[in-house]
């Protein structure tokens, strides 16, 4: 056991207490605002202690925004993003670190460069891409004459088969948000630190790459998967612009859009209390994920697996 230092311990507690207080400060004021009436929330100076209307505001916000349905959509989309991105980037990260093959670095840089333009900045063309995901393939097949060839020989209409419109579908909500390299990069960084003899040992045992990946690498990655799940869950859950632009059916809308709908705009009554109260139940699922997931990275994982 590593010995303890009282001075250090006190210092650490102080740092953490201050840190916690600072990061939580906005949260406290959100709670205060959410517990006031619409008149009180506009008071100057702003009250520093909560009022008694939190539950009332929460119920009002919940019903106003029809959150029960939005919640389901948000959960599906978010879990889709988390699982999809984890799966895709774990294997991609595995491929670029553990395999020797031509154009390995090209592949890595191709993936990496996707960090360089967030979806919000290229949102209109992305929308086009998703509304007509088959478009590029159609033009490619048309250009090389495959469409005509297939139609002539088999009578199969390739063009018609390639009409993939993902508007108002979960696929359209999820896939463009998976298209980024952050997670692949993280796993690459992590895999590079994994001791080489683990792989050697697996090879000696006659295990193939997939078995090594599943039996050794994946369990080792637990802490990083947990950390990344939290980040991705928040990323997916807090998406606003993409779902807003992308969904036209109320049935496909997400909780974040419902929340934004409650945020007062210029000409309306500034009902900040309702929006702030709503922000708490909107943040409940990600908060829950944080509390559950943080238990996953508590011990030295490389140790535990040896």
């Amino acid at each position: 056991m590593v010995e303890r230092h009282t001075g250090l311990s006190i210092f650490c507690h102080v740092v953490l207490l201050i840190g916690a207080a600072v990061v939580c400060m906005p949260l406290y004021f959100a709670f205060v605002a959410g517990s006031l009436t619409v008149g009180e929330v506009q008071q100057v100076p702003f009250p520093l202690v909560p009022g008694g209307h939190f539950v009332e505001n929460t119920v009002l916000a919940w019903n106003e925004g029809q959150f029960s349905r939005l919640y389901v959509n948000s959960l599906i989309v978010t879990v889709g993003i988390v699982v999809g991105k984890l799966a895709v980037s774990l294997i991609a990260g595995f491929a670029v670190t553990y395999f020797r093959f031509p154009f390995r670095m090209t592949a890595f840089w191709l993936i990496f460069v996707s960090l360089m333009l967030p979806v919000e900045v290229r949102i209109i063309p992305t929308y086009e891409a998703v509304a007509d995901a088959g478009g590029p393939l159609r033009s490619l097949f048309d250009a090389i004459g495959l469409t005509g060839f297939v139609a002539d020989t088999t009578g199969y209409q390739l063009d018609a088969a390639l009409q993939w419109n993902m508007i108002n579908s979960y696929g359209g909500l999820i896939l463009p948000l998976i298209a980024s390299a952050s997670a692949t990069f993280l796993f690459r960084q992590f895999f590079l630190t994994v001791p080489d003899e683990l792989c050697e040992a697996a090879k000696l045992d006659g295990a193939g790459p997939l078995k090594f990946f599943w039996d050794v690498l994946l369990p080792l990655s637990r802490a990083n998967i947990a950390a990344l799940s939290i980040i991705l869950f928040l990323y997916g859950w807090n998406q606003y612009l993409w779902p807003l632009l992308f969904t036209t059916e109320k049935a496909m809308s997400t909780a974040m859009i419902g929340l934004k709908d409650l945020i007062p705009v210029a000409d309306a009554q500034p009902a900040w209390n309702i929006a702030m109260a709503a922000s708490f139940f909107v943040m409940a699922p990600p908060a829950l994920v944080i509390l559950l997931m943080q238990r996953w990275f508590t011990k030295g994982l490389v140790d535990s697996s040896k």
């Binding site: 209109i124 929308y127 086009e128 612009l241 049935a251 945020i263 900040w272």
Partner: protein, 441 residues
């Protein structure tokens, strides 16, 4: 690997299509009319009420309203959707996006739509500044929907405490009052600066005082218009506002607070803000409040203010059935009864004379005198080239520049003249760009 991936996409699609079918089936027998709108909160509820009233009034069409974010986000959503033929049938678009929509090639002028579907709309019945803004070459392009104009809200208790009955009708008189309010320490601040001050304190100011804002009748007479507001009374106005800010008479609301809250909470004694603030002020202000028309310069040739807010556009590329539904809905919105209800519920201006007269005959304005101020301000004097409104291509872009430059006055980086010169210069580049792109329109 690749093929299973493609399969999984199509599988996802199929699954979601099933889900959509299940939820959409209930109203299958009615023609669906999609409407994207940009107002939320209480106003959004009122929009949904309007839609539900229309849907109940007949059994052929079902208007489905979707909130698509603020005006800019809604317009961007429209652009993205239109490029892949996913556009709605109706779009609510702000007055600043008027030229963008008008020249988009994506809309059906509203008079064409109504005439084709057999509705007779009396466009002459729209109140002058409203008709003046939306009618292009004698024909209305969009249906005026939520129209507003900025008015001067004041705390009557505070004014009384400072020894005034009502705000002065000139800026010079108002200045004295605002400084008196400060000196007598009646309120913390005398006036709050709204977030859209360029609309009220610059553009409307310019129209009301009959100053030209740009050449070619503020853009009405051609795309080769050029800004000239750096050579008019606007320079003095910015200098005045700067002095007020420096003296602590005028407080910049900034981000993080609804400017109108500074008024309703009693912090600031006055604010020049949209007439659509009525429902909020009525609910929240715990003091005796009132409103007045916006002040003008002493000795000015006083004219009408201009309108803000948004209109409804009929979007191209929809079936005949849907277009008929759009026309039916527009007809419903333009009815005096609907207009009256909408105006009462929101504080927006009743846009037709019929609705205005109806409210007047009922004595509504006797009980709610401040509700009439917007109409009064909009119908002061005969509209001139300077007061009819503003028609600038990419108006959003030049507005952003104007705000940025005036902020440089607040920070002390530039004098009012320098800032406005620069704003005009940069704004004109945007106008030229637009002219080049839309030559011949």
């Amino acid at each position: 690997m690749a093929s299973t991936y493609v399969k999984s996409i199509t599988g996802l699609l199929a699954a979601s299509a099933l889900l959509m079918g299940a939820t959409g089936a209930t109203a299958a027998d009615r023609v669906k009319i999609e409407w994207w709108y940009a107002i939320s909160g209480k106003l959004g509820d009122t929009v949904q009420q309007l839609i539900s009233d229309f849907n109940k009034s007949q059994d052929k069409y079902e208007v489905v309203g979707t909130f698509k974010g603020n005006y800019e986000e809604t317009l961007a959503a429209m652009v993205a959707a239109y490029r892949v033929s996913q556009q709605p049938a109706i779009l609510q678009s702000a007055e600043r996006g008027f030229m963008t929509m008008l020249n988009s090639g994506a809309i059906i002028p509203v008079d064409q739509l109504m005439a084709k579907q057999g509705y007779k709309t009396d466009w002459n019945d729209f109140i002058k500044p409203v008709a003046g803004f939306y009618i292009v070459n004698g024909k209305p392009a969009a249906l005026p929907f939520n129209s507003s104009t900025p008015i001067l809200w004041y705390n009557a208790d505070a004014f009384k405490a400072a020894g005034f009955d009502a705000p002065s009708d000139t800026w010079q008189g108002l200045e004295k009052q605002l400084y008196a309010l400060k000196e007598k320490k009646v309120t913390d601040c005398s006036m709050a600066l709204p977030g859209d001050f360029q609309w009220s304190l610059i553009e409307n100011y310019s129209a009301i005082n009959n100053y030209p804002f740009a050449t070619k009748a503020n853009g009405y007479a051609g795309l080769d218009t050029e800004f000239v507001y750096n050579k008019t009374g606007v320079v003095g106005q910015v200098a005045r506002l700067k002095k007020w800010v420096d003296d602590g008479v005028l407080k910049i609301a900034g981000q993080g607070v609804a400017p109108i809250s500074l008024f309703t909470s009693g912090t600031c004694a006055t604010i020049i803000n949209s007439t659509a603030s009525h429902s909020g002020v009525e609910a929240d202000a715990k003091f005796k409040w009132s409103a007045a028309v916006m002040p003008h310069e002493a000795g000015a040739d006083v004219r009408n203010g201009t309108i803000g807010g948004a209109s409804l556009w009929a979007v191209k590329g929809k079936s005949e059935e849907v277009q008929a539904g759009v026309a039916a809905f527009f007809n419903f919105v333009a009815q005096p009864d609907t207009q009256e209800w909408w105006s009462k519920a929101t504080g927006y201006v009743p846009v037709t004379n019929a609705a205005y007269q109806k409210m007047k005959a009922e004595g509504y304005f006797k009980d709610h005198p401040t509700r009439e101020i917007a109409i009064e301000q909009l119908s002061r004097g005969e509209p001139t080239d300077n007061s009819r409104g503003f028609r600038f291509g990419n108006h959003n872009q030049s507005t952003a520049i104007l705000i940025e430059e005036i902020q440089a006055v607040w920070t002390g980086k530039k004098t009012p003249q320098e800032a406005l010169d620069s704003s005009v210069k940069r704004g004109n580049e945007i106008l030229r760009q637009y002219e080049k792109l839309h030559a011949g329109k």
